[in-house]
């Protein structure tokens, strides 16, 4: 029989993790279980659902809008994630050295990240308005014709990617800055003594040392891109046509405009599935990369 002191010591960790575990269960675990259950039901706006097995998932196969939204989501993610990360890294490297007004510059680049998505969306809609937007007026000064930033199905996704990358760069920059400052300067000094130039030092020391940070940033950015809703909803409403309709928007539409909660839950689980597969693949890749360090 254990003594009271030992029992208390054994219980202490659970007391500490208890509140967090409770919150996680209430706001994450239980909703996930409910969403999984819902995805196997035909549930209208309110009331009891009818059990339909995998019908909701089977319906995805013949849903043209789902396919379009899935492709748009992939294009949007591929367009935003590497660009934001590369630009963030470039800025971090640039601002990781003594510069006049460095603090102000860092803050300026970070501001878009904390601005509300709806506000960003409204302002950017004005800036990129084909008729009276600042962007086209600036181009007109240079003698360049109006660009249909948001009104052409071929341009709208590109414009959204520009806007979202702009909001994301500051975040990537701050995370990379922290990581850059933790790289021991001795490594670079030693490489310099061995004759490595700036590019070689960056490629062979900085980039590999940033691998864990890059890994985390990659996953976070993919999550952000899969969840991007407000800016797209405000700027294009998924249009012109379906050219900027993404999966999360389709989930929202199915749930609250169509009232098809079961189908929306199935769509949501597809998003979760994509994210899970991506995260697992990324973790495997990171482990392999780190094993070479």
């Amino acid at each position: 029989m254990s003594r009271p002191g030992e029992r208390r010591a054994r219980l202490t960790p659970y007391v500490f993790i208890g509140p967090a575990a409770l919150l996680f269960a209430a706001f994450s675990l239980v909703p996930i279980i409910i969403a999984i259950t819902l995805s196997f039901q035909d549930t209208q706006t309110l009331g009891e659902g009818e059990w339909v097995g995998v019908d909701n998932f089977a319906k995805l196969g013949s849903d043209r809008l789902f396919r379009t939204a899935l492709i748009n989501t992939l294009v949007f993610t591929i367009g935003t994630v590497p660009t934001a990360m590369a630009a963030g890294l470039a800025l971090a490297v640039a601002l990781n050295r003594p510069l006049p007004g460095r603090g102000v510059l860092r803050a300026m680049f970070f501001v878009p990240m904390v601005a509300a998505g709806v506000v960003v969306g409204v302002i950017m809609s004005w800036i990129f308005n084909v008729d009276y937007g600042v962007a086209n007026n600036a181009l007109a000064v240079l003698g360049i014709d109006r660009i249909p930033w948001l009104t052409s199905p071929n341009m709208a996704m590109f414009t959204l990617i520009i806007v979202v990358v702009w909001t994301r760069i500051g975040f990537c920059m701050v995370i990379y800055l922290g990581a850059l400052q933790s790289i021991p300067s001795e490594l670079k000094e030693a490489a310099s003594i061995d004759g490595a130039d700036r590019w070689a030092r960056f490629r062979s020391i900085t980039v590999p040392m940033l691998t864990p940070t890059t890994s985390i940033l990659l996953i976070l950015n993919v999550v952000f891109s899969l969840q991007a809703f407000d800016v797209i909803y405000v700027m294009t409403g998924g249009g012109p046509g379906f050219s900027t309709t993404v999966l999360i928007q389709y989930v929202f539409r199915s749930a609250f405009q169509d009232g098809q909660m079961g189908y929306a839950a199935a769509l949501g689980l597809v998003l979760v599935g994509i994210l899970l597969v991506f995260t697992l693949l990324r973790q495997q890749a990171s482990k392999r990369a780190e094993s070479f360090l």
């Binding site: 309110l46 409204v122 294009t236 012109p240 609250f256 405009q257």
Partner: protein, 427 residues
């Protein structure tokens, strides 16, 4: 003398008693007062008006209180989650396009017992139909708005056109296109703008179908009918706006940036705007005295946008009878008059005209909106306040957009819209 330190058990006991007290206070135990909650869009003048009217109701009903609160974010998301938690307000301000789903699925309460028998006589048939169902009255239409034609006086003078002032003389589609071509020459950009304000407002284009003798849904309010010649011609008419450069491609239901229609008008890029009374304040601010109004365009038939709101009682209400009584009180002639006067709204009651309301400004324009309200077709009202309209409106937004930008021909848009509409109505 220093007071003794409380022991751990004493602290726990005090905490436990406090917690029990707090929980008891939150339990909703009977305090002798009956509370009602009314939720409205976040329009400060309207919130004040609702509270003032509710305060008078409370004076006549001792032991009651009414709190006016704000409907936040996306309406359906907000309302569905609160209904699911049984925490929706007692009374909700709701648009005709939103009411159908909730009236059909039991989320709203039948008001028949509380509504005076003579009320219906003072509403036009279309306006009364917004809340009326076979099994009861699920909302009372409180105020409305619609679309008329705003024009730039200087542009009209330059092209030598005297815009019509009465509904009978409203421009037909052909006349309008002819004038629009001249307006475009004067502005050097586009001819006119249309009053969408986001994908949820795609339905504002629907009156064009009815103006051409078509319909979005059949007489039963359920069967899709976008495959008729009249509907396809209406789509072709809309497509010509963009193909001929009369309307900016940035002015569609899915385009963002707030009121693009107002901005295009006030920046002189268009000479006409088909839009609602919200434009008055914006145009006055930017170009006071430089604009005028004409009726909404027409073709073989008439039609204008169905704007406005109804008041309804939700199933979450613990006091549905009292809440229904408050809805009846809010929609009395005097209270609608007061509400429309304060908020510059158009009354839903037919016995109220602009003179009765006593608008602070532009009484003639407001009367024009009141008159235009009579052209809103009953079949369009039934379609828009039907059970599936929220889903159908999303479908309409998609295929109208594809047609207007030229990705689908009017025939293709019609066929694909029909297919998508049928997948909704046959669920």
């Amino acid at each position: 003398m220093r007071p003794p330190d409380p022991s751990r058990r004493q602290i726990l006991a005090v905490a436990g008693i406090s917690m029990a007290g707090a929980l008891a206070a939150c339990s909703g135990a009977d305090t002798g007062t009956t509370h009602l909650r009314l939720s409205s869009w976040n329009i400060p003048t309207d919130l004040d008006s609702y509270q003032a009217i509710a305060d008078r109701f409370v004076e006549d009903h001792p032991g009651t209180s009414v709190a006016v609160e704000v409907t936040t974010g996306s309406f359906h998301q907000w309302f569905i989650t609160r209904l699911a938690a049984d925490l929706a307000p007692d009374i909700i301000r709701i648009t005709p396009q939103q009411i159908g789903r909730y009236a059909a699925n039991g989320s709203l309460v039948d008001l028949t017992q509380a509504i005076p028998a003579d009320y219906q006589e003072d509403w036009s048939e279309p306006f009364w139909a917004i809340g009326q169902r076979e099994n009861g009255i699920f909302g009372v239409f409180q105020h409305t708005d619609n679309f008329i034609t705003f024009y730039n006086r200087s542009v009209m003078e330059q092209i030598g056109v005297h815009p019509p002032t009465t509904l009978e003389d409203a421009w037909t589609w052909d006349q309008f296109l002819e004038i629009a071509a001249e307006v475009k020459k004067v502005t050097g950009n586009y001819a006119f703008s249309y009053g969408w304000s986001g994908p949820d407002t795609a339905y504002r284009w629907m009156p064009l179908i009815y103006q051409n003798g078509g319909a979005f849904l059949g007489e039963d309010g359920l069967t899709p009918s976008m495959d008729t010649d009249a509907a396809i011609e209406a789509l072709a008419f809309g497509r010509s706006w963009y193909a001929d450069g009369l309307v900016s491609p940035s002015n569609m239901s899915k385009s963002g940036g707030g009121h693009v229609d107002f901005d295009l008008f006030t920046t002189g890029q268009v000479g006409m705007a088909l839009t609602n009374p919200e434009a008055i304040a914006a145009f006055d601010e930017a170009m006071s005295g430089e604009w005028g109004t004409a009726p909404m365009i027409r073709n073989v038939g008439e039609g204008s946008d169905l704007g406005g709101n109804a008041l309804a009682v939700t199933r979450s209400s613990r006091e549905p009878e009292l809440a229904a009584e408050l809805v009846a009180y809010m929609t009395s002639r005097d209270n609608i008059q007061e509400f429309c006067h304060n908020g510059n709204w158009i009354p839903s009651r037919t016995s109220l005209d602009a003179g009765d309301i006593g608008y602070a400004d532009h009484e003639d324009v407001m009367q024009q909106f009141i008159d235009q309200g009579t052209t809103i077709p009953l079949s369009m009202v039934k379609a828009q306040s039907g059970e599936y309209f929220s889903s159908l409106n999303a479908v309409f937004a998609d295929y109208l957009d594809l047609c207007l930008i030229g990705q689908l021909s009017p025939q293709q848009a019609s066929a694909q819209m029909m297919e998508a509409m049928l997948s909704v109505t046959t669920r």
